[in-house]
Symmetry: D2
Subunit: 313 residues, 4 copies
């Protein structure tokens, strides 16, 4: 199995590590069908730790790399107009994760009283995150590990890894987890896949701006569907089909993801357009992935068991 | 058990039936502790039916009353600064419900090609809504009946029953269902409760603008918490606590509902503020109730089992 | 000339003074063609003054009435579907005005550091507002007095006087000034006109939430156009025609006001629709009236000299 | 005088011509103090013309390059943390300009009935744009030529030339015109200036998505302020100072530009922060540049004559 290491920041590789773009040199090549193991940074490039809190980092003026990815990975044979398939097989967990509040960032920035940066470390063990309150009480939250940032290169822009958009990116969707397949639209030769920002568990909306942030080693199976064009990322789990769209305001993300699902119902399930529209209105489920990045991300879901195939009656 | 009939529209009672307001005369009085049965209109005032589609109604120029309520009901002893408790005990189901697309309304208005009004009738039986596609295929969707519009009078405004806000109103929250308790902030003497717009089942977001719309008879237990002030509706189910806020854009509804939940965690569970903020970011669930009314509604939820009481360690 | 006094707040007339609504009793009757003199409150109901700052008012817990109007005034013969014409003839100026910053209000709330309430009094003399900086420097700003809040009753809702909408209300449009005519859509019998919240001068956007706020006596000529239906307020000055729309986000207000102007160009100037659309894109002027009230207000303007009448070539 | 030609599209130079980015090779080098003449594309890369309308281009499937720039131009000595000064000296006008409506683009997309693409050509002569209505009437609009798209490279992203942001870009601000100076924040060595998209005249908001679009030759004087950091573009005219910010929704652009102006008043005019905030609220003017690009652009303006220098009393 091919093992892909994260690129160190030693040589000012800010552009390479912190953008998805067509002009960045690939760090590895992978064939469709291959299973790969990718080592990932956490969203703070692993610089925040119990011996060095976020406040320490900011006060020392240390560089705070935003949301670095490992990549970009060239997928052989991928061309614009194809669809890249990424099956998540495994996500390793360290024994500790970090949650932080940064001034100038987060869903309630300007709504709660201002604060200096806060850092909370939570032990991870036995499938639980141990969230400890200031008064010492401990809350055990079941883990749900997933890849927060994963995407391909846009056609011609070099986009910050902070941004989620049609190329994927910083979507923070908990459904990009072991057992599920993510579909991404290929826009340049080789697709140029990158990923990072793994979360041990996250609340819907990721309201304070971070989840339980962890470095990880992720196992993926890469595949390719030739000549199938999708406009936005899609996910398929054993039980559900999902469309993932990012926009601002949040309602536009809901609209886009609903429209994508309507198209999917038309194309693969033979729904008439307005039948599909009304069906979403009575049967769909929505996940708000995050409202803290430059665009906000929404998932529209339908249970497979409610979806008759064409011709079924 | 007191039975409260809906008010007919014969005498141009548009203001009474289609606003929540302090100047509307109450139609009934109820004591805290009473169980009542309330007959409700569907969102189209029961004028759309298989023999008269929405298109027929609009083409004939018949009056289309928007989202009428039954009310307002005066709760004895309720004063501004109290909290009204409405326990939903039962919701009756007719054998048919209606879903419709109206030009000029709905989440994808202007995004999908324009259409004339569409009406779809779905049979309801054995706990399922039978959703029938144009090609005859049938999809059985499990019912989840709830009260779409329920609220009290604002302090001095007379607000359309189309609008959801801090007084409740057209929230379309599927958690206002049998087994759950809804808490509403009292703003005028007698609270002046009203309700209607019951849904047999609804998708998150109610994207086309309607759910499976039904008239109903709803059984409620009314109670009062004296001298407890809340700012927005809350819901408690056997397993979860929930805050319900409405705003526009949708992210502001998420922010408001998150802030309400943080306050709740501070007041009743002894969380420090930023502990609560970060806790939501790793553990909360969000429901987008609707993005089709003048303000959009969001529910923030936490499982009771993750919430230690003050003093527990 | 009929003189209309403002209603005192002695008898808890909050609903009457602080809503536009169909259930409020009129305080006067006026015939079309009449010239009237209306005494108006400032936006703080005249309670903030050099001897009692906004901070004093809030700390003493005095009632702070929001944006009261004088009204509602019944216009004889006005029916739904008519257009009310209000010509502004004169606005009197006191010798002092007040500008204030209130916590929880204003365009930069949550963007600037929090502050306790601030009150600044500015002398008004010789057609200038004397704005005094903390270090004593004085800036002379030419006055431009106008009526901040003016509107009619909605059809069935009782709307707070804080809100601008299709009925007029708290629009804060500097073009509602002497020499100009304001057109309002009549929605109930008698129209039920109300006004207040005069400003001596205001910046575009009214970014801190207040202008130079003054009580005043306003002279108006009231007229009526029978059977002419407009959807939003319009203004005509000697040189320009203007549409006024309020919405949120601000771009929707721009879109609505542009659409209204396109309709006007179609109906009265014989423009083909897309000719009108492209014409706005090369020739219109926009005023952002305010971005601090619950909906935001925009004015789209065209110079009369660019507008050929139908048949002119 | 150095003459800089636009780069042809022959060699698939989409990335070079249609992004502002740090990885694009410069096409010329200029010294601070130099006057240069830059040849610019119109927003359609000059492919739309009377013999080939926008509809023809789309139907033929010809490539439609979006908003190309001429650049990027390396300014010697420019370093991150400096401010680039661009004085606009002259803008040449062709004898014809084009205005167009594109499906899927424009401020009223989805609000007006759908249409196929529309193209209108307007003669330009004697300082007037001759706007011709479908019925033959002609309207003479005085020209006001300006540079629609002008900016520098972001620090590490490669941004589409369609986007306006803190690096400048597609701002469509009519104040970037002869006689005025534009200030841009330098983010990479050499600044990497690019420009294009000149307009003969434009309405506020550019509601249909285009103005009177022209190719041009633009004369600029380039200068540099070392070690002066600004966060957003600024403009100084003979009479006014202006801040230019782009965001979405439009009110956030207003907020950002107001905040920038408050900082300017603090730093250079000695205003206390809240004095500045209230001063804007009574004296500023706003221009809405455009609401049709991915972010919306606003200009906040203050007249120089109202601004006392520090120490003046």
């Amino acid at each position: 199995m091919k093992k892909i290491k994260k690129t160190p920041f030693k040589h000012l590789s800010y552009i390479k590590n912190c953008t998805f773009g067509p002009l960045n040199e690939p760090i590895a090549k992978v064939k469709p069908g291959e299973v790969i193991e990718v080592e990932t940074w956490d969203c703070f490039a692993n610089v925040v730790k119990p011996t060095q809190t976020l406040k320490d980092v900011l006060e020392k003026g240390l560089p705070l790399y935003d949301n670095p990815i490992t990549g970009q990975i060239y997928i052989e044979g991928a061309k614009p107009g194809d669809t890249l398939v990424v099956e998540v097989i495994d996500i390793t967990l360290p024994d500790m994760g970090v949650t932080a509040v940064m001034p100038g960032f987060g869903g309630l920035e300007g709504w709660l009283q201002k604060s200096s940066p806060l850092t909370k470390f939570s032990e991870i063990k036995n499938g639980k995150v141990i969230y400890t309150l200031k008064d010492g009480r401990k809350i055990e939250i079941p883990i749900n590990p997933f890849i927060g940032t994963i995407g391909v290169s846009p056609a011609f822009e070099g986009t910050s890894t902070i941004i989620p958009a049609s190329h994927g990116g910083n979507m923070d969707v908990a459904d990009v987890c072991p057992g599920n397949k993510l579909y991404l639209p290929v826009a340049v030769d080789g697709a140029l896949l990158g990923l990072g920002d793994v979360h041990a568990v996250q609340g819907d909306g990721e309201i304070c701006g971070t989840a339980v942030e962890i470095p990880s080693v992720v196992t993926l199976k890469i595949d390719l569907i030739k000549n199938k064009r999708i406009d936005w990322p899609r996910i398929v789990s054993p039980d559900e089909i999902m469309t993932v769209c990012s926009s601002k305001p949040l309602e536009d993300a809901v609209r886009l993801a609903s429209l994508e699902m309507i198209r999917w119902l038309e194309e693969e399930y033979g729904f008439e357009r307005y039948d599909a529209y009304m069906f979403l209105s009575v049967a769909s489920r929505l996940r708000v992935a995050q409202i803290v990045d430059p665009l906000f991300t929404v998932v529209v879901k339908l249970p497979k068991k409610l979806l008759p195939r064409k011709g079924e009656a």
